[in-house]
Protein backbone atom coordinates (compact mmCIF):
# COMPACT_ATOMS: atom_id res chain seq x y z
CA UNK A 1 0.00 0.00 0.00
CA UNK A 2 1.08 3.58 -0.71
CA UNK A 3 1.65 6.11 2.08
CA UNK A 4 -1.53 7.98 1.04
CA UNK A 5 -3.70 4.88 1.56
CA UNK A 6 -1.92 4.07 4.81
CA UNK A 7 -2.51 7.59 6.12
CA UNK A 8 -6.24 7.32 5.38
CA UNK A 9 -6.38 4.19 7.50
CA UNK A 10 -4.21 5.77 10.20
CA UNK A 11 -6.62 8.70 10.42
CA UNK A 12 -9.64 6.46 10.86
CA UNK A 13 -9.55 2.72 11.63
CA UNK A 14 -6.06 2.62 13.13
CA UNK A 15 -6.51 5.57 15.52
CA UNK A 16 -9.92 4.24 16.53
CA UNK A 17 -8.77 0.67 17.14
CA UNK A 18 -11.06 -0.76 14.45
CA UNK A 19 -8.37 -2.92 12.83
CA UNK A 20 -7.25 -6.42 13.69
CA UNK A 21 -5.50 -9.40 12.12
CA UNK A 22 -3.75 -8.93 8.79
CA UNK A 23 -4.90 -5.32 8.33
CA UNK A 24 -3.33 -4.24 11.61
CA UNK A 25 -0.18 -6.26 10.94
CA UNK A 26 0.42 -4.69 7.52
CA UNK A 27 -0.09 -1.15 8.88
CA UNK A 28 2.35 -1.76 11.71
CA UNK A 29 4.88 -3.22 9.28
CA UNK A 30 4.58 -0.09 7.12
CA UNK A 31 4.93 2.18 10.15
CA UNK A 32 8.13 0.45 11.24
CA UNK A 33 9.63 1.13 7.79
CA UNK A 34 8.24 4.64 7.08
CA UNK A 35 9.30 7.64 9.21
CA UNK A 36 6.91 9.95 7.27
CA UNK A 37 3.84 7.91 8.22
CA UNK A 38 5.07 7.60 11.83
CA UNK A 39 5.27 11.37 12.05
CA UNK A 40 1.83 11.74 10.44
CA UNK A 41 0.38 9.34 13.00
CA UNK A 42 1.95 11.21 15.93
CA UNK A 43 0.56 14.57 14.75
CA UNK A 44 -2.86 13.12 13.93
CA UNK A 45 -3.12 11.51 17.36
CA UNK A 46 -2.07 14.69 19.15
CA UNK A 47 -4.38 17.02 17.21
CA UNK A 48 -7.46 14.92 16.47
CA UNK A 49 -7.75 12.30 19.21
CA UNK A 50 -5.96 13.29 22.42
CA UNK A 51 -7.99 16.48 23.03
CA UNK A 52 -11.04 14.26 23.48
CA UNK A 53 -9.40 12.01 26.10
CA UNK A 54 -9.62 14.77 28.66
CA UNK A 55 -13.03 16.03 27.65
CA UNK A 56 -15.23 16.72 30.62
CA UNK A 57 -18.77 15.49 30.73
CA UNK A 58 -20.92 18.56 30.30
CA UNK A 59 -23.92 17.52 32.31
CA UNK A 60 -26.82 19.87 32.76
CA UNK A 61 -29.17 20.01 35.71
CA UNK A 62 -31.10 16.75 35.70
CA UNK A 63 -33.73 17.98 38.17
CA UNK A 64 -34.50 21.24 36.35
CA UNK A 65 -35.04 19.56 33.01
CA UNK A 66 -37.14 16.76 34.57
CA UNK A 67 -39.30 19.38 36.28
CA UNK A 68 -39.99 21.00 32.90
CA UNK A 69 -40.69 17.66 31.22
CA UNK A 70 -43.04 16.54 34.01
CA UNK A 71 -44.92 19.83 33.83
CA UNK A 72 -45.40 19.42 30.11
CA UNK A 73 -46.58 15.80 30.49
CA UNK A 74 -49.06 16.75 33.23
CA UNK A 75 -50.33 19.66 31.14
CA UNK A 76 -50.87 17.36 28.16
CA UNK A 77 -52.74 14.86 30.34
CA UNK A 78 -55.04 17.47 31.87
CA UNK A 79 -55.68 19.51 28.71
CA UNK A 80 -54.52 17.77 25.61
CA UNK A 81 -53.91 20.46 23.02
CA UNK A 82 -55.79 20.42 19.74
CA UNK A 83 -52.63 19.74 17.77
CA UNK A 84 -51.70 16.90 20.15
CA UNK A 85 -55.17 15.36 19.89
CA UNK A 86 -55.04 15.75 16.13
CA UNK A 87 -51.60 14.14 16.01
CA UNK A 88 -52.82 11.28 18.22
CA UNK A 89 -55.88 10.86 15.99
CA UNK A 90 -53.79 10.77 12.83
CA UNK A 91 -51.37 8.28 14.41
CA UNK A 92 -54.32 6.19 15.58
CA UNK A 93 -55.79 6.23 12.09
CA UNK A 94 -52.42 5.33 10.66
CA UNK A 95 -52.33 2.26 12.89
CA UNK A 96 -55.88 1.37 11.83
CA UNK A 97 -55.46 1.89 8.11
CA UNK A 98 -54.19 -1.59 7.23
CA UNK A 99 -57.17 -3.36 8.87
CA UNK A 100 -60.05 -1.57 7.07
CA UNK A 101 -58.06 -1.53 3.86
CA UNK A 102 -57.60 -5.28 4.19
CA UNK A 103 -61.27 -5.86 5.03
CA UNK A 104 -62.36 -3.63 2.16
CA UNK A 105 -60.08 -5.37 -0.32
CA UNK A 106 -61.40 -8.78 0.83
CA UNK A 107 -64.99 -7.55 0.40
CA UNK A 108 -64.27 -6.13 -3.04
CA UNK A 109 -62.47 -9.33 -4.08
CA UNK A 110 -65.45 -11.38 -2.78
CA UNK A 111 -67.96 -9.29 -4.71
CA UNK A 112 -65.89 -9.51 -7.90
CA UNK A 113 -65.44 -13.29 -7.54
CA UNK A 114 -69.16 -13.79 -6.87
CA UNK A 115 -70.09 -11.64 -9.87
CA UNK A 116 -67.66 -13.50 -12.10
CA UNK A 117 -68.92 -16.86 -10.84
CA UNK A 118 -72.63 -16.06 -11.40
CA UNK A 119 -71.88 -14.52 -14.75
CA UNK A 120 -70.01 -17.62 -15.92
CA UNK A 121 -72.68 -19.91 -14.41
CA UNK A 122 -75.46 -18.06 -16.28
CA UNK A 123 -73.50 -18.27 -19.48
CA UNK A 124 -72.92 -21.98 -18.96
CA UNK A 125 -76.62 -22.52 -18.33
CA UNK A 126 -77.50 -20.56 -21.47
CA UNK A 127 -74.98 -22.56 -23.47
CA UNK A 128 -76.35 -25.78 -22.00
CA UNK A 129 -79.95 -24.78 -22.82
CA UNK A 130 -78.99 -23.75 -26.28
CA UNK A 131 -77.02 -26.90 -26.87
CA UNK A 132 -79.81 -29.15 -25.56
CA UNK A 133 -82.24 -27.35 -27.87
CA UNK A 134 -79.81 -27.80 -30.72
CA UNK A 135 -79.36 -31.43 -29.79
CA UNK A 136 -83.12 -31.95 -29.69
CA UNK A 137 -83.50 -30.33 -33.05
CA UNK A 138 -80.59 -32.40 -34.34
CA UNK A 139 -82.09 -35.62 -32.96
CA UNK A 140 -85.48 -34.68 -34.35
CA UNK A 141 -83.85 -33.89 -37.65
CA UNK A 142 -81.91 -37.13 -37.47
CA UNK A 143 -84.95 -39.22 -36.61
CA UNK A 144 -86.93 -37.43 -39.25
CA UNK A 145 -84.18 -38.02 -41.66
CA UNK A 146 -83.88 -41.64 -40.68
CA UNK A 147 -87.61 -42.00 -40.69
CA UNK A 148 -87.89 -40.35 -44.06
CA UNK A 149 -85.26 -42.73 -45.41
CA UNK A 150 -87.31 -45.76 -44.45
CA UNK A 151 -89.37 -47.37 -47.15
CA UNK A 152 -93.01 -46.88 -46.18
CA UNK A 153 -94.04 -50.27 -47.42
CA UNK A 154 -91.31 -52.02 -45.56
CA UNK A 155 -92.10 -53.00 -41.97
CA UNK A 156 -88.44 -53.39 -41.03
CA UNK A 157 -84.95 -54.10 -42.05
CA UNK A 158 -85.74 -57.70 -42.74
CA UNK A 159 -83.32 -59.12 -40.17
CA UNK A 160 -83.94 -62.35 -38.31
CA UNK A 161 -84.33 -60.60 -34.93
CA UNK A 162 -86.80 -58.11 -36.26
CA UNK A 163 -88.73 -60.75 -37.84
CA UNK A 164 -88.69 -62.64 -34.52
CA UNK A 165 -90.19 -59.63 -32.60
CA UNK A 166 -92.64 -58.81 -35.24
Amino acid sequence: MKCEQIQELLLTDYLDGQLDGEGLKSIEQHLSDCPGCREFLAVARKITVEPFYSSKKVFLSQEDVWHRIKQQIEKEHSQPSLSHRLAEMILGLKELVPKPAWALSIMVAGVILTAVYFNSWNRQEMVQTASSEDNGQYIAYFTDDVGSGQPEDNGGYGTAIEEYFL
Binding site: L11, T12, A44, S55, I69, I73, H77
Partner: protein
Protein backbone atom coordinates in the same frame (compact mmCIF):
# COMPACT_ATOMS: atom_id res chain seq x y z
CA UNK B 1 -25.47 2.15 31.25
CA UNK B 2 -27.91 -0.70 31.84
CA UNK B 3 -30.74 -1.70 29.57
CA UNK B 4 -34.14 -0.79 30.98
CA UNK B 5 -36.51 -3.73 31.43
CA UNK B 6 -39.46 -4.32 29.11
CA UNK B 7 -41.82 -3.92 32.04
CA UNK B 8 -40.64 -0.38 32.73
CA UNK B 9 -40.84 0.53 29.04
CA UNK B 10 -44.35 -0.92 28.85
CA UNK B 11 -45.50 1.03 31.92
CA UNK B 12 -43.93 4.26 30.64
CA UNK B 13 -45.60 3.78 27.26
CA UNK B 14 -48.96 3.57 29.07
CA UNK B 15 -48.32 6.98 30.64
CA UNK B 16 -46.79 5.95 34.00
CA UNK B 17 -44.70 9.03 34.92
CA UNK B 18 -42.67 7.12 37.55
CA UNK B 19 -41.62 4.50 35.02
CA UNK B 20 -40.76 7.23 32.56
CA UNK B 21 -38.63 8.94 35.21
CA UNK B 22 -36.56 5.72 35.49
CA UNK B 23 -35.85 5.92 31.74
CA UNK B 24 -35.14 9.64 32.01
CA UNK B 25 -32.62 9.18 34.83
CA UNK B 26 -30.88 6.34 33.03
CA UNK B 27 -30.39 8.22 29.78
CA UNK B 28 -30.21 11.84 30.87
CA UNK B 29 -26.39 11.75 31.12
CA UNK B 30 -25.91 10.57 27.56
CA UNK B 31 -28.66 12.75 26.08
CA UNK B 32 -27.49 15.93 27.81
CA UNK B 33 -23.83 15.32 27.03
CA UNK B 34 -24.33 14.61 23.35
CA UNK B 35 -26.83 17.44 22.86
CA UNK B 36 -24.53 19.89 24.63
CA UNK B 37 -21.50 18.83 22.55
CA UNK B 38 -23.31 18.97 19.22
CA UNK B 39 -25.16 22.22 19.93
CA UNK B 40 -22.79 23.83 22.44
CA UNK B 41 -25.25 26.27 23.91
CA UNK B 42 -26.59 25.52 27.36
CA UNK B 43 -30.08 26.95 26.87
CA UNK B 44 -30.55 25.47 23.43
CA UNK B 45 -29.26 22.10 24.62
CA UNK B 46 -31.78 22.12 27.51
CA UNK B 47 -34.61 22.81 25.06
CA UNK B 48 -33.42 19.96 22.84
CA UNK B 49 -33.16 17.56 25.81
CA UNK B 50 -36.72 18.44 26.80
CA UNK B 51 -37.90 17.89 23.21
CA UNK B 52 -36.01 14.57 23.01
CA UNK B 53 -37.63 13.18 26.18
CA UNK B 54 -41.11 14.44 25.28
CA UNK B 55 -40.65 12.81 21.88
CA UNK B 56 -39.56 9.56 23.58
CA UNK B 57 -42.55 9.74 25.94
CA UNK B 58 -44.99 10.05 23.01
CA UNK B 59 -43.22 7.51 20.81
CA UNK B 60 -42.77 4.72 23.40
CA UNK B 61 -46.19 3.32 22.37
CA UNK B 62 -44.73 2.64 18.96
CA UNK B 63 -41.37 1.28 20.17
CA UNK B 64 -41.22 -2.23 18.67
CA UNK B 65 -38.06 -3.55 20.42
CA UNK B 66 -36.47 -4.02 16.96
CA UNK B 67 -33.38 -2.17 18.19
CA UNK B 68 -32.30 -1.65 21.78
CA UNK B 69 -33.86 1.25 23.69
CA UNK B 70 -30.36 2.69 24.08
CA UNK B 71 -29.76 2.79 20.28
CA UNK B 72 -33.24 4.21 19.72
CA UNK B 73 -32.68 7.02 22.26
CA UNK B 74 -29.20 7.70 20.81
CA UNK B 75 -30.83 8.04 17.38
CA UNK B 76 -33.55 10.45 18.51
CA UNK B 77 -31.02 12.59 20.42
CA UNK B 78 -28.39 12.79 17.69
CA UNK B 79 -30.93 13.45 14.93
CA UNK B 80 -32.62 16.22 16.94
CA UNK B 81 -29.27 17.81 17.77
CA UNK B 82 -27.98 17.57 14.18
CA UNK B 83 -31.19 19.05 12.78
CA UNK B 84 -31.08 21.87 15.28
CA UNK B 85 -27.42 22.59 14.50
CA UNK B 86 -28.15 22.56 10.75
CA UNK B 87 -31.06 24.93 11.21
CA UNK B 88 -28.84 27.27 13.19
CA UNK B 89 -26.09 27.18 10.59
CA UNK B 90 -28.63 27.96 7.81
CA UNK B 91 -30.00 30.92 9.70
CA UNK B 92 -26.66 32.36 10.69
CA UNK B 93 -24.66 31.49 7.56
CA UNK B 94 -21.90 30.32 9.88
CA UNK B 95 -20.90 26.86 11.10
CA UNK B 96 -22.43 27.52 14.51
CA UNK B 97 -23.80 30.40 16.53
CA UNK B 98 -21.42 29.70 19.37
CA UNK B 99 -18.49 30.23 16.96
CA UNK B 100 -18.77 33.92 17.66
CA UNK B 101 -18.19 33.29 21.34
CA UNK B 102 -15.48 30.69 21.22
CA UNK B 103 -13.48 31.01 18.01
CA UNK B 104 -10.61 33.38 18.65
CA UNK B 105 -9.83 36.04 16.10
CA UNK B 106 -6.14 35.45 15.38
CA UNK B 107 -4.35 32.22 14.44
CA UNK B 108 -2.02 32.55 17.43
CA UNK B 109 -5.04 32.58 19.72
CA UNK B 110 -6.32 29.42 18.01
CA UNK B 111 -2.94 27.81 18.50
CA UNK B 112 -2.90 28.87 22.12
CA UNK B 113 -6.29 27.31 22.65
CA UNK B 114 -5.29 24.07 20.94
CA UNK B 115 -2.12 23.81 22.97
CA UNK B 116 -3.38 24.71 26.39
CA UNK B 117 -3.36 21.13 27.63
CA UNK B 118 -6.21 20.23 25.35
CA UNK B 119 -8.54 22.32 27.41
CA UNK B 120 -12.27 22.62 27.11
CA UNK B 121 -11.93 25.60 24.83
CA UNK B 122 -9.57 23.73 22.50
CA UNK B 123 -12.15 21.02 22.21
CA UNK B 124 -14.80 23.60 21.42
CA UNK B 125 -12.60 25.14 18.71
CA UNK B 126 -12.04 21.73 17.11
CA UNK B 127 -15.69 20.70 17.21
CA UNK B 128 -16.79 24.06 15.90
CA UNK B 129 -14.66 23.64 12.78
CA UNK B 130 -16.80 20.63 11.76
CA UNK B 131 -20.20 20.48 10.12
CA UNK B 132 -23.04 18.98 12.25
CA UNK B 133 -22.86 15.52 10.61
CA UNK B 134 -19.10 15.24 11.15
CA UNK B 135 -19.43 16.63 14.68
CA UNK B 136 -22.02 14.00 15.59
CA UNK B 137 -19.71 11.20 14.38
CA UNK B 138 -16.73 12.61 16.29
CA UNK B 139 -18.78 13.08 19.48
CA UNK B 140 -20.10 9.49 19.29
CA UNK B 141 -16.66 8.07 18.50
CA UNK B 142 -14.14 10.16 20.41
CA UNK B 143 -16.24 11.19 23.41
CA UNK B 144 -18.85 8.45 23.78
CA UNK B 145 -16.53 5.68 22.55
CA UNK B 146 -18.97 4.00 20.14
CA UNK B 147 -17.54 1.71 17.45
CA UNK B 148 -18.08 2.57 13.76
CA UNK B 149 -20.73 -0.14 13.46
CA UNK B 150 -22.63 1.24 16.45
CA UNK B 151 -22.47 4.80 15.07
CA UNK B 152 -23.78 3.52 11.72
CA UNK B 153 -26.68 1.83 13.54
CA UNK B 154 -27.52 4.97 15.54
CA UNK B 155 -27.41 7.28 12.51
CA UNK B 156 -28.88 4.67 10.11
CA UNK B 157 -26.07 5.23 7.61
CA UNK B 158 -23.50 2.80 6.11
CA UNK B 159 -20.28 2.14 8.07
CA UNK B 160 -18.27 3.59 5.16
CA UNK B 161 -20.16 6.88 5.50
CA UNK B 162 -19.21 6.96 9.19
CA UNK B 163 -15.59 6.28 8.24
CA UNK B 164 -15.59 9.00 5.60
CA UNK B 165 -17.17 11.59 7.94
CA UNK B 166 -14.59 10.82 10.61
CA UNK B 167 -11.80 11.05 8.04
CA UNK B 168 -13.01 14.43 6.76
CA UNK B 169 -13.52 15.70 10.29
CA UNK B 170 -9.96 14.81 11.26
CA UNK B 171 -8.56 16.27 8.05
CA UNK B 172 -10.37 19.51 8.93
CA UNK B 173 -8.83 19.47 12.42
CA UNK B 174 -5.36 18.88 10.94
CA UNK B 175 -5.90 21.66 8.39
CA UNK B 176 -6.84 24.04 11.21
CA UNK B 177 -3.60 23.19 12.96
CA UNK B 178 -1.58 23.57 9.73
CA UNK B 179 -3.11 26.98 9.12
CA UNK B 180 -2.02 28.08 12.57
CA UNK B 181 1.55 26.84 12.07
CA UNK B 182 1.80 28.37 8.59
CA UNK B 183 0.50 31.77 9.75
CA UNK B 184 2.95 31.85 12.62
CA UNK B 185 5.98 31.17 10.45
Amino acid sequence: MQEISRGIIQKASEGDANAFEVIYKEYFGFVSHVARRIINSREDAEDIIQEVFINIYHSLKRFRFESSLKTWIYRITVNKAINYAKKLSRHHHQPMEYAETFIPETPSEIDHKINENFSENALTVLLDALNPDQRACIVLRSIEGLRYKEIAEVLKIPVNTVRSRIKRARETMLALRKRVVKDEM
